[in-house]
Structure formats: C-alpha cells, structure tokens
C-alpha cells in the first residue's frame, strides 16, 4: 500500500507562530489567498471567548462523550484517525439522524476554551489540500489510521465536493484531555 501523500504544512505552523504577537492584517489581497479555515481561526482569535463545536452521534454515545468519554483513537474519517467535530449544529444533526436513526439527544456540543486551543499545534488545510489529502488517504486505505502528528486539524468538509463548513479533527492525547476536561462544558442537544 503506497504511503499517502500529505502536503507540506510547515509554512502553516510558521504562519500560526507569526500570528501570535499581532492581529492578522485583513487586507483584501491577503484575504484572497488566506484559506477559509485560517480565516475562521483568525476571526475566532479576534473575537475571543469560546468556540462551540458539534459532534453528531447516537444518543448512547452522546451520553458517554458528554461525561468525558472522548477517545481520539477510536474515530476515523476523511482525514484519518481522530475525533471529529463541526462548526454547525444543523450539519451535525442531519448526519446523526441519518447515520444513527435518532432524532433527539444525538449531538454533543463542546464549549471550547480558545486560550487552550491557541496553545495547540494546529494544522490548517484549505479546500484543495483537504480534497487531495482525502483522496490519497482513501486510495491508500488509511482513513482509520493516518495522523498528522499535531493536536488539531482544521479543514473544510470536503467529502461532498463543495465546501459546506469547517470540521476539526482532534488528534492528540492533549486535545483528548482538553475535550474531556470539566472546564470545557458539554451539552447534549
């Protein structure tokens, strides 16, 4: 099985480091080349506070997750192994209804502490990179095993061709611990 090709993301880590001391200059030219996922992160930083992310699942699993049962090694998806969340409740609900057949108590909302996440090692993918990565993981059969060796992957949902919204793949033990901590409130919806 050929090893999946993963785009070099070193520039993004450097870019993130450069963000720390000053706000990202939101010039039109910069916005045009800035991946949407990066723009979302920058906007989140500028607004401050907390971010809410959603995970659609079965009611039984939702209860487990809400009580601190997130395990980043159990899940998989288009970007490999990890625990996946999305930015919208309505997207998570549609998935949960059709995948698990339950109409209520099927989404867990995580109130994410942005200060903690800013200290994470984050890999951003734009739509093109995410599509390319997804195709290669699928081709190499590593959608359940591939890891980016970071805390969090932030990317558009690409499995349906058009950019729908952003997704987050929580990958490391540090991110798992944070998701399970009592200081990040969890609500079942």
């Amino acid at each position: 099985v050929p090893e999946a090709y993963i785009p070099n993301d070193s520039w993004k880590r450097s870019f993130k480091a450069s963000l720390s001391p000053k706000p990202y200059p939101l010039l039109p030219a910069a916005c045009e080349i800035m991946p949407r996922s990066v723009a979302a992160f920058v906007l989140w930083r500028k607004i401050g506070g907390s971010m809410h992310v959603f995970h659609g699942t079965s009611p039984a699993t939702a209860a487990t997750l809400a009580s601190g049962g997130v395990n980043v090694t159990e899940g998989g998806g288009e970007l490999g192994v990890g625990f996946y969340t999305g930015e919208y409740l309505h997207v998570a609900k549609a998935w949960a209804v059709h995948r698990y057949g339950a109409k209520r108590q099927n989404v867990v909302e995580f109130d994410v502490d942005d200060n903690a996440v800013q200290a994470f090692d984050i890999v951003w993918l734009d739509a093109g990179e995410a599509s390319f990565t997804r195709a290669n993981l699928k081709r190499s059969g590593t959608t359940r095993t591939h890891a980016f060796s970071c805390d969090l992957v932030w990317s558009p949902i690409v499995g349906t061709d058009k950019i729908q919204s952003d997704q987050h793949k929580w990958e490391s033990l540090r991110s798992e611990t944070a998701l399970n901590s009592a200081s990040w409130p969890k609500t079942i919806r």
Binding site: G76, A92, W95, R104, I157, T160, K162
Partner: protein
Amino acid sequence: MTNLVHYMVRNPARLGELIYPLELNEPDYQAYGSFFIDGSDIDDLRDSYLFYGLSDEVFLPIDLRRVGKAQFDASVPKIGRFRFTATKVGVPAKYGGTLPFPSESLLVRQLAPYDRTALERAALEFNFYFIGFSPVIDGTADVKLQPAGRPSTDSQKRQVDW
C-alpha cells in the same frame, strides 16, 4: 429520476459513489453528507422537490420550489424561508448502495444554502433542521419512527415517485 432531495455521503470505499449514511460499513466513521438532487442539465431540474426537515423531533415534508434558473426556496411555517442553489457537483456520482435506487440516475447537483447562518439560527432557536431523505425517513431502514413523522396523506406519498 426522483423528486427527492437526498442526504448522502461519499462512499469511503469506492470513488465516484454516493451512499446513504446507514450504508457505511465502518462504525465510528465520520463523513458529513450533503443534499443531492439529479439533473446534469439545467433543463433537467424539476419545478419542485420534496425536502425533508426535522421540526421538534418530527419529520416534516417541505416543498422545495424552483424560483430561478437553479435557485430554490423552501418555506417553513412559523420559521422562515430558506434559499438554496443547485450547484453542479465536480465529480458526478452514482448511487452505490444496495437499495432500489434508479440505476441510471446520476446525482450531479448539490444544494448549497444561500445563508448558512439562517439555517443555524433555525436550529438553535426553533429546533428545526433540513435533513433531506434517506431510508431512515420512510422506514425502509430498520429504524422505528414516530408515525407523525411520515407523510401522512396520499397526496404526500405520491410525491415520492422513485
């Protein structure tokens, strides 16, 4: 041909195929889906589609009405009107599952909402979601549904002509 708005995901095992989420083989696999209709040419688009929503835990059949070349509106009583564009899918995909879906039908258009924040507001404030069709809706999947959630009249059932 079908007049349904389908909720499907890309088959992780086979390129170029869409399946319903219940047909995914792998447990704990996350693959957020999207809303698909058929019609490669603009003339193939129907004037109306049946677009399921979920309102207060009850399945709600909603008329998705064509209002422009590829623009559609869905009005939900007491909640609002939502506009979608039927955009062409980059890689047309066939249904690759095991249900009796019309084999000649390619699902080549995807509904993109004009205003995603309006959809989220409807979810947070009114407990309303567009969910589209999958076998969960009509009970062909082995899932127990509330009777009130299905199309309850003959006229509504006749709209589902696949």
